[in-house]
Symmetry: C2
Subunit: 350 residues, 2 copies
């Protein structure tokens, strides 16, 4: 099985933790030994060898990727570190990897995003390996049994059981809260964004369901391909359109890394009686349900405040109500317009 790792995301949703030139998948919060990118690579090595890994990332991150791989003592063949000339979302990224893989083999491929957190990597590895057989009949996705009506994830509507999984009846976009409650009651699963397929079938599917992308990749000039291809996600542009998509239940403590909540809670943070998530010894008086991260070991006091996300970096400070984290990108836009380089880089970090 070939292992495709996508590490091109530039998410500024987690600004100021995440910067354009130093996005979330490469960050090590205080107390973290590995970035989530490095964790993803470690998980892949439970499934296959270094030589089985194909990495798709942005040209901008090639140095970061090489640094972090070296730190782990992992060596991925140079020609398998695929640099996207521009960001065109996940379908072109995977197409690039599959095309590269097919120059050598028609193997089964598994695709992993490098901004997931998995508490039990061995369980993930085992589940993905057992899906290999099923993948010869069609695309295999992995579904997580919800423990709450999460509105931040997509959902999968299950159909008939089949070889340790089931057919997918429908993919559902991120729901509102009431819809999420109904989904959970009706046995829908979270869409983990991990999937397994046979590489030739992937190319055929792109040809059938997204000929524009397919056409763009008929040249061997990758600059040209990325220039021509539309920007589209693999979910929207391919999987949701396909028949013969299967889902295998995954029970490995999976979560997406996309919000301050999951980012912080899964790291070395503590949770106090008032549901404050904190990394240090911040003083919390009359304060509940806050998430506080500080890069430096500062003396920090929160008094009479609730439901805040506080991210204190050496060069930037975010104080955001938990319900309004979707507006962080608006703040980033304003900074960009001002030409503020702290959107892209850490300035003056010590």
């Amino acid at each position: 099985m070939k292992l495709i790792v996508m590490a091109g995301g530039s998410g500024t949703r987690l600004w100021p933790l995440s910067r354009t030139n130093y996005p979330k998948q490469f960050i090590k919060l205080s107390g973290m030994k590995k970035s989530v990118f490095q964790e993803t690579i470690s998980r892949c090595l439970l499934i296959g060898e270094q030589n089985d890994i194909y990495l798709v990332t942005s040209e901008n991150y090639s140095e970061l990727v090489n640094e972090q791989l070296k730190e782990m003592n992992v060596s991925i063949p140079y020609e398998q570190i695929l640099l996207e000339p521009e960001a065109k979302n996940t379908l072109p990224a995977i197409m690039y990897a599959v095309q590269t893989i097919r120059e050598k083999t028609d193997d089964i491929c598994a695709v992993f995003s490098s901004d997931h957190i998995v508490d039990n990597p061995q369980a993930l590895a085992d589940t993905v390996k057992t899906a290999e057989t099923l993948a010869s009949s069609g695309f295999v996705t992995f579904g997580i049994k919800p423990d709450r009506p999460e509105t931040g994830y997509g959902y999968i509507k299950p159909g008939n059981p089949l070889q340790g999984g089931f057919e997918v009846l429908e993919f559902k976009e991120k729901p509102d809260y009431d819809t999420a409650i109904r989904y959970v009651e009706q046995g829908y699963l979270w869409n983990s964004g991990i999937f397994v397929f046979q590489s030739e079938q992937f190319e055929d599917a792109v040809m059938n369901y997204n000929p524009e992308v397919y056409e763009a990749f008929r040249t061997s000039d990758i600059e040209e391909s990325f220039d021509k291809t539309p920007s589209i996600s693999v979910d929207y542009g391919l999987i949701e359109k396909m028949d013969n998509v299967y889902c295998v239940p995954l029970d490995a403590g999976w979560s997406d890394f996309g919000t301050f909540g999951t980012f912080c809670e899964k790291q070395h943070a503590k949770r106090d009686e008032a549901d404050n998530v904190q990394f240090g010894d911040e003083i919390m008086l009359n304060s509940a349900k806050n998430i506080v991260y500080s890069e430096k070991n500062k003396a920090i006091a929160l008094i009479g405040v609730s439901d805040l996300v506080v991210v204190d970096m050496d060069d930037a400070l975010l104080i955001c109500h938990k319900d309004q984290t979707q507006k962080v990108k608006d703040a980033v836009e304003i900074l960009k317009k001002r030409g503020d380089s702290r959107v892209d880089d850490y300035i003056g970090k010590q």
Copy 2:
């Protein structure tokens, strides 16, 4: 007229702006040219000469005081910089100064606190000078016409008019909000904490109304005096007990510097349409009525929050609801118990 400046306050109510070893009166916020202590000295020099000034401060601040005087090119006679061996509130501090003054003269004295802000120093100087005559008949306080029902100040209940002022019927402690509204309606004035008196009368009054303090100061050993004297304010321990206290209206844009609100609003802060007070170009999205001060020129975004005081120092961060700033001292107590030196000093300031 001799001018007594009290600069011994160690207020940690404004932590982390203010530290035990660097209290609020000596702070220069970004954009400030002078500390409020320096502003107070400047105002005194509109009333008298350098040689007329008597400074009472803590031993701990003698270096700070000398530095800041030097910066202003002001030279106060060495023996007129009076260092309190320990903090015993304002009555002993003034007693110390008056005793020192009386070794030379029985002049009229004016007492100024170094944590006031005065928009129109010349008006203050003129008003204080005109009170000199009245001071030969009794203590003169200065009353500010309220423009709002402020609960953070004491109030003066006015009586019969008299020589450009009036008799004081009663002093009122900081009221609750409803009481403050009534006071304002009934023509009460804010007690500015500035007063003028004849120095011999002051000593007599202390002898009559607070013999314990008087006794403590009968030795020439100032260590012993401060060791023996009770800790008591000049208001509570003296003026509120006296007859023959007068009040002169003062219209000079006076305010006390005791809260983050007055501290910040009177400095070089801007106020936006949503009533946010800010020093820099902080981004405010869906946020109103916040006060934000950052020591560094950081990229700061507030999203979906209201009524917060945010003080971001290099070594400390406070996020406090405006209604709960009285709890800042509790946070400081916790830090003290932890042995955290950031209560006393700036650590790592650049």
